[in-house]
Every structure is written in C-alpha cells, then in structure tokens.
C-alpha cells in the first residue's frame, strides 16, 4: 500500500497546491514534496532488499485489455523512488527565488510530474508503466512550453513529438508481448520475462524498446531534441528532465530490454554499445566547445547517460550496479549544477562563459559548492561520480577492451569541459556582468547542502545504495543468462 500512497500523494499535493492559489503555492508544494520524501524514507526503512518486490498492490483496471493497476517496489525501484522524492522538494525549493506567473499551476505541474515518475519506477504492470511513461510528458511539456525561453514553442513541440514517437513503438511491442503470454493473457512484467521468443521477434522487440528508451535518455543519434529543450526550459523543468526523467530511459533498459529480449541483446547489443560509446565521446567533445553554460551541462549529461547505457548493455553485475548508482549520482550532480547556473544567470543575466569571470572573488560559498558538484561530476575518488564511473568503465572494459578504452576517455574529456566551465566563470578578471555579485542566500544553501551531503555520502560509503540494489540486479541477471 505504501507504493500506492507514494504515487497518489504528489497528485493530492498537486491538487491542493492548485487550489491554494498563487500566494501559498510555493509553501504548499514544498510541504507536499517533503511529505512524499518522508513516506519514501519510511518505505526505505522497512525495505528488505532480499525480499524482492514489496509494498505491492493490484487492482484490475481494464479487464479486457488485461491491464491492472499494479505496482510494487524492489531494490531497483527503491533507489529511483528515493532519488525522485529526494530531488523533487529541492527542485521546488530551487524555484523559490523566481517569481513565476501562475505559480500555483507551475508547482502543481512539478508535483504531477513527480507522481508520474514514481509510477514509472514502481509499476509492475507493463501497460501501467507505459501509461505513466507517457503521462510524465504532459506536465513537463507545459512547464517548458509556458515558462520557457524564447524559442520554446518550436523546441517543446519537437521534444513532445520526438518522445511520443519513441514510446508508441514501445506500445506496439508491449501489445505484441501481451498476446504472446500463454493462457488468459497477462501484462505483468514478470509474465513477459517468461516468454520464449524467436530470435527474429526478439530483434524487432529489441529495436522497439531501444528506440523508445534511447530517445528518452537520450542516446546518440536520438539526442537532437535534448540540448535545445534543456536550454529553453525554465530551470526547474530542466532539472526534472535531466535529473529524473532521463532515468526513465535507463530504468526501462534495465527493466524491459535486458530481461525480455536477451537474445536480441546478443545480436544487437554490440551495436547499441557502440552507439552509446559514440555518444559519450561526441557529447563530451561538443560540451568542450559550448559557451552557453546550460548547453554545456546538457551535453555533459548526454555524455554521462551514454556511459550508463553502455554499462547496461554490458549486461554484467558491475554494469548494472554502476548504472544504478550513477543514476543517483548524476541526478544529484546535474541538479546542483543547473541550480548554480541558474543562480549565476539570475544575478548576471547571462549564461555565456565569454561574458563571465571572476565570480569567485566575492563568493566563497558558491565557489566551494560549485567545485564539489563539479568534482562529483568529473568522478574524483570519494565523490559520488567515481563509484558509478568506475563500475561502468570496468564493465565496458570487460565487454570489449577497445570500447572500454575509448569510453575511458570520458574521464579526461569530462575534466576538460568541467574545469573549463569553472575556470571561465569563477576565475580570471571580473567581467562587467558580475559586478556586485552576491554570495548564496540561506534558501539557496538549503538546496545545495543536501546535495553536497549526498555527493560525499555516495562517494565515501556507496554500499548503502549498492546493497539495496544488488539482490534485485543479480536476480535480473539470472533471468538474462538463462
């Protein structure tokens, strides 16, 4: 039942936010986010990693379509639910300093999004997963399209069509799989795991799933919607997109692609792997050349997600564990970085590195927080990025030595663009744009501090989270290897 509560709470909070009017919206939304976090932490406390899917419930929903409203939490879901509920209040808090018009709608959309995301990560019915997967798009579309930058209309429409396009293929695959289940058909994900599909069918299903998830993450060459959308969206929406939504894609790979079509993986996995590795290098190189800070982080995010996908496609314990912990780490780092860029932008009205410089002279706090998040992102040992990146690279290396070597370049390239970002904005002579730059306010610190704590927690003691996911991941791998 806790799962149902987790899905419904943000919706309820969103509705209350909407009703409470523009003046109170912020506080109510934050409260709603915090309550959800509280419930998630309670679930975590009671959670037994070895026991498989827990807190489940199931209602028949559309009997003839074989759809039931069924959800539950296993180790993999738990990590992502924690990530979602942890980040959402921070995203809400980070929006506090802006005065958004119609703020009640704005904040309730964030909460609706949270609910859909938790639904995606906990659904145990394939069609329910699909519903949430699609439904998550609508709030974020409106967030980006109503409160976004100048080109928002074109960009968000492209984003919407692109991602729906991918997921519809997944729907076809799901419907097909549904009719392959024996007896009275079932759309439970575990029922799909039992299917014996011919190699050719596995190939088709592989691509249907791959395209859906690759567009969402995004992987090379399906990424073209991403930088524009990230840049044009208001920062809270960008945070939702990069911090949580792209994890839907990686989660989908782990939950659907690997276990359902293992033979398809054998045939086409190498190709997917190569695409992922191309994405890593390509994203990094473009990131190096960016001057707009938001775009830079967008491309770095694109590079990082490539590495996660590569880990998943290696279908090894290290790869999957690495991908999961990296999802956590990436979510935390990227949200922190976008927030800092938003702070810089709201004070200087520019995001261009060429126009910035010397911020650190007046901002000891900002510089330190920024640096820690950067180093986390660059994967310095003892920070959160290191654990994931290490596991991921070792898994890719085991899969194929050459690919591993190429993917390893990400560490060097990552340092190049990240340090360049820091150097150009924080050091050097003070530009005219940064005159009178104020250091962090208390509420800004309230957003960054939890993130910094998590950077070190995951970096120093990752087993808190690795232990959580390990039983679920090994179980999944057993399925794949059978």
């Amino acid at each position: 039942m806790l799962t149902l509560l987790l899905i419904l709470l943000p919706i309820a909070a969103g509705v209350i936010t909407l009703l409470s009017g523009d003046r109170l919206a912020k506080q109510v939304a934050l409260l709603g986010g915090l309550v959800s976090l509280g419930v998630a932490v309670t679930a975590w406390m009671q959670f037994d990693p070895a026991a498989g899917s827990q807190f489940g419930f199931k209602y028949a929903w559309v009997a003839s379509g074989g759809i039931s409203f069924a959800a539950g939490i296993d180790g993999i879901s738990m990590v992502l639910v924690l990530l979602t509920t942890f980040l959402t209040p921070l995203i809400i808090l980070s929006a506090f300093k802006h005065e958004y018009k119609n703020s009640a709608t704005f904040y309730s959309l964030i909460l609706f999004m949270e609910s859909a995301l938790i639904g995606v990560f906990t659904a145990t019915d394939a069609f329910l997963f699909y519903l949430f997967f699609e439904a998550a798009l609508i709030p974020v579309y409106f967030l980006a399209a109503v409160w976004g930058g100048e080109n928002r209309l074109k960009v968000t429409l492209k984003f919407f069509i692109y991602t729906i396009f991918g997921s519809l293929f997944m729907m076809v695959a799901l419907v097909y799989l549904y009719y392959q289940t024996p007896g009275t058909h079932s759309s439970e994900i575990t029922a799909f795991y039992q299917l014996q599909l011919s190699p050719m069918v596995q190939g088709f299903i592989f691509w249907a799933f791959f395209i859906a998830f690759a567009i969402k993450m995004p992987l090379f060459p399906f990424h073209t919607w991403q930088p524009d959308t990230y840049t044009e969206s208001p920062t809270p929406a960008t945070m939702l997109l990069s911090g949580i939504m792209l994890k839907m894609g990686v989660y989908g790979l782990i939950r659907f692609l690997l276990p359902i079509v293992p033979e398809g993986m054998e045939t086409w996995g190498m190709m997917a792997m190569i695409l992922s590795v191309i994405g890593i290098i390509y994203g990094s190189i473009i990131a190096i050349q960016q001057s707009d800070m938001k775009r830079l982080i967008a491309y770095s995010s694109f590079a990082h997600v490539g590495l996660m996908a590569a880990g998943v496609f290696s279908s090894s314990l290290n790869g999957l564990q690495g991908a999961l912990i990296q999802m956590l780490a990436h979510g935390i780092n990227v949200i922190g970085l976008f927030f800092i860029i938003d702070i810089i932008y709201s004070r200087t009205k520019t995001r261009y590195l060429d126009q910035l410089g010397g911020i650190s002279q007046s901002t000891p706090h900002l510089s330190v927080y920024f640096m820690v998040l950067l180093l986390g992102s660059v994967a310095l040992p003892l920070t959160n990025g290191f654990v994931g990146e290490f596991l991921l690279l070792s898994s890719v290396f085991q899969y194929d030595g050459w690919l591993g070597a190429i993917a390893g370049l990400t560490i060097i390239l990552g340092s190049v663009y990240m340090l360049r970002l820091f150097q150009k904005s924080m050091f050097g002579p003070k530009s005219k744009w940064v005159e009178g730059f104020q250091d962090l306010t208390a509420s800004e610190r309230a957003v960054l501090l939890p993130l910094i704590i998590m950077v070190f927690w995951i970096g120093i003691y990752p087993s808190t989270f690795l232990k959580l996911t390990e039983p679920a991941v090994s179980q999944l791998l057993q399925l794949v290897n059978n």
Partner: protein
Amino acid sequence: MYPIILLSFLGVVTLFLGFSKSKNILLPATLLFLIIALASNFIEWNKGPLLYFYDMLRVDNVTLAFNGIILLSAFMIVAISGGFQDNADSEPAEYYGLMLFSLVGAIMMVGFEHLIMLFIGVEILSVAMYILTGSNKRNLRSNEAALKYFLMGAFATGFMLFGMTLLYGATGSFKLAQIQGFASNIPAGTQSYILYAGLLLLLIGMLFKVSAAPFHFWTPDVYEGAPTIFTTFMSTVVKTAGFAALFRLLSSSFSNIYGFWWIVIAAIAVLTLLVGNIGATSQNSFKRMLAYSGISHAGYLLIALTALTKPSQNAIIFYSLAYSLSTISAFGVLMLVSKEKTIEGQPNERYEAFNGLAKQNPLLAFVLAVSMLSLAGIPLTAGFWGKFFIFTSAAERGIIWITVIAVLMSTVGIYYYFRVIISSYLKEGDLIKIRVAPFYQVILVLATFLTILFGLAPGIFEGFM
C-alpha cells in the same frame, strides 16, 4: 426500435411546433424529444437479440450501445446549437426536424438485418445532411458544399445499389443471415465473383459515407462549407452510424470470406491514415483540420474493421464515443471563438483565432486542450484507450504492421492537434472574454468530464458492455 418510432413521430411534431409564434420553444422541445428517445432506447437493454419488421431490423446490446452514442451526440449537439436565433434566415423547426429524422436513418443503419434497411437508413440520413449542409442559404460556400455533397453522395448511392443488386444476384436474398449462409458455403476451390464484386461495390458506397480515402475528396470542402453545428453532426453521428453499419455488414455476413476483403480494408485504412494525417498538417483553418482529422480517425476505425476480432466491436464502440465527445467539444469551442472574430464577414476559423484563449477564457481553453489531447491519443484521456483497444484488436489478429503505420501517423497527429493548444495557451492574442450560455457550458464540461473519466477508468464502460 422504440427510438425509431418515437423520433419519426416527434420529428413531425417538431415541424408543427414551427408554426407556433414563439420559436423559443423549439430548442427545449427538441432536447426533451431526444431525452425521451435516449431513454426509450435502453428499455430493450439486455432483452437479448430482438428482430422487428419481418426480421429486417435487429436490436441487441451492441446496436443499443451504438444508438446510445448517436443519440447522446445528437443531444449534445442540439444543446449547443443555440436555437439558431442569431440568423434571421434560419428555419429552426426544419433543422431540428431534419436532425430527428436523420437519427431515424442512423438507427436503421446501426441495426439493419436486411440490405434494404441499410439502404433506406443511409438515404434518410444522407438526404437530411444534404439539406442541412446547404442551410446557410446566403452563403456561397455553404451552397457549393451542399451541391458537392449531394452529387458525390448520389454517385456513392449508385455504387451501393449496384453492389446490393449483385449481392442479391449471387445469394438470392437481401438478408444478412442468408448472405452469410451463402458466403460460408462457397465450395472449396471455386470463387463467387458476383458476390465479391457486390461486396466491393457496397463497400465503396459505405466508405464514401464515412469519408475513407480515396473516397474522401468531398469531406474537407463539405465540412468547411456547412454551418459548424451541422459539421459537428456530420462528423459524429454519420461516422458512428457508418462504422456500426460497416461492422455489422462485415462481421455478420462476410466473416467467412475474411481472407478476401481484409486486405482491401487494410489498404484503405492505410491510405486513409496517410491522407487524413498528412492532409491535416498543411491546413491553416482549424475547421478544415478537423475535417482531415475526421478522415484520419476513419482510418483508425478501419483498422478495427480489418482485425474483426471480438475486441474490435468494443473498440469501435469505445472509439466512436471518445471521438464523438472530443469532436463535439472542439467544434463547440470553435463556434464560440469563431463568432468573436471575423474575416470578410465570415467567422474566422483559422488557428490564429484561438490565440490567447487561455488567458481570458480558461474553461474554454481547457475544454479545447482536453479534446485535442484525446483526439491525439495522449494517455489519461478517452482517446488514448480508443486507440489502444484498436491496436490490441489488430495485434490479436496478428496484424502488427498496420499498427506500426498507425503509430507513425499518430505522431504526425500530435503536430496539428498541438497547434491549437499552442495557440490558445502559449500565444498572445486579443481575445476578449467570451460569454458562454450556462447550458452550453454544462455540455462542454460534461464532454470534457466524460473524456477524462473514460481516460482514467475505461473499465466503467466495459462493465456496462
């Protein structure tokens, strides 16, 4: 059965009401008549298959469900018609009378057991539509549309009659059951070409009525030219009746020669999807876009016909309901908005007319947005489940490729449906606050509410079936 008798009688009563001095009584009276018809429709619910008129008309739960959708749509459309009081030339009694008569035709199409009934039903419905299309007498566009519709419709009727004649020649009967008997007893290795030719010609006639490509050429012009209220009627009632009839025809008489006709319907479905969706992208007029979108929805419904599985029937019913609700909301908002703005004395039906709608009229913008999301098939609206059920019915038959094409085309759909949402929510405009009559508002809210309700819990509907 009851609605046929009642509506024929009440249609005449409506005409007589037209003689009274006060025209204000017509709208409430017609609404009342429709409620009576709707209620009487469900008297026979669960009474099992009943046959009337020398076994020429059939009543069972499926036909009652289709009738229910048709009557509900008609009720909602009449409710937002506003009594035709703003136009001095209008003849409300005749319009309402014709609408009631046309419903008789629609109900005959839904429940026919005999091809003559189908023919009479189609003609009653069509003739009423020809007249209503041209009802805006002083508008050239309306006149042209009526003439075009009439000429093309007459042609289609010719095909249909010829098809029926051939079927009679082949099978010796107009009764569906006997045609089925003949079609299922064709000796192996032989072909009955007369039967096949008859079926194809009959299909052409019917496909014309539901505006499937390549018989769709009249649709955009007629939809655009007809007064919007009748366009709404055409695109919901006529389409639902047409698909109910097609489904009955194919499922009860020709299911045994599925192998012969399925590929024909499949090809037409694909063509219709392509024409409808691609045609809609290049429109600047919202009304024309809805016409093309109507064509594309005929394409989705044809997929359910292609599959012809048990779920197909429910899929068609659900889809028709979802589509009718959304279409009525969309046209309903269009009528309000286009009246506010005019180009050269005509209502402005372009996308730009919706600019800034959300700011002054949040309710209208929301109704419009939900209807567009539903037509586009976005989850948590009824339209999504409509598409979903159709895709599953095709998948059950194992026709995956057609679903893939439909999926591609649905993505195209998002482009043009979202243009309206973008106009109303994201663009600046100078629309003032539009006054919406309370009853009008109730209908729009009801349609939106049902769209969302069926989107959240399509199971409600299933329990009902």
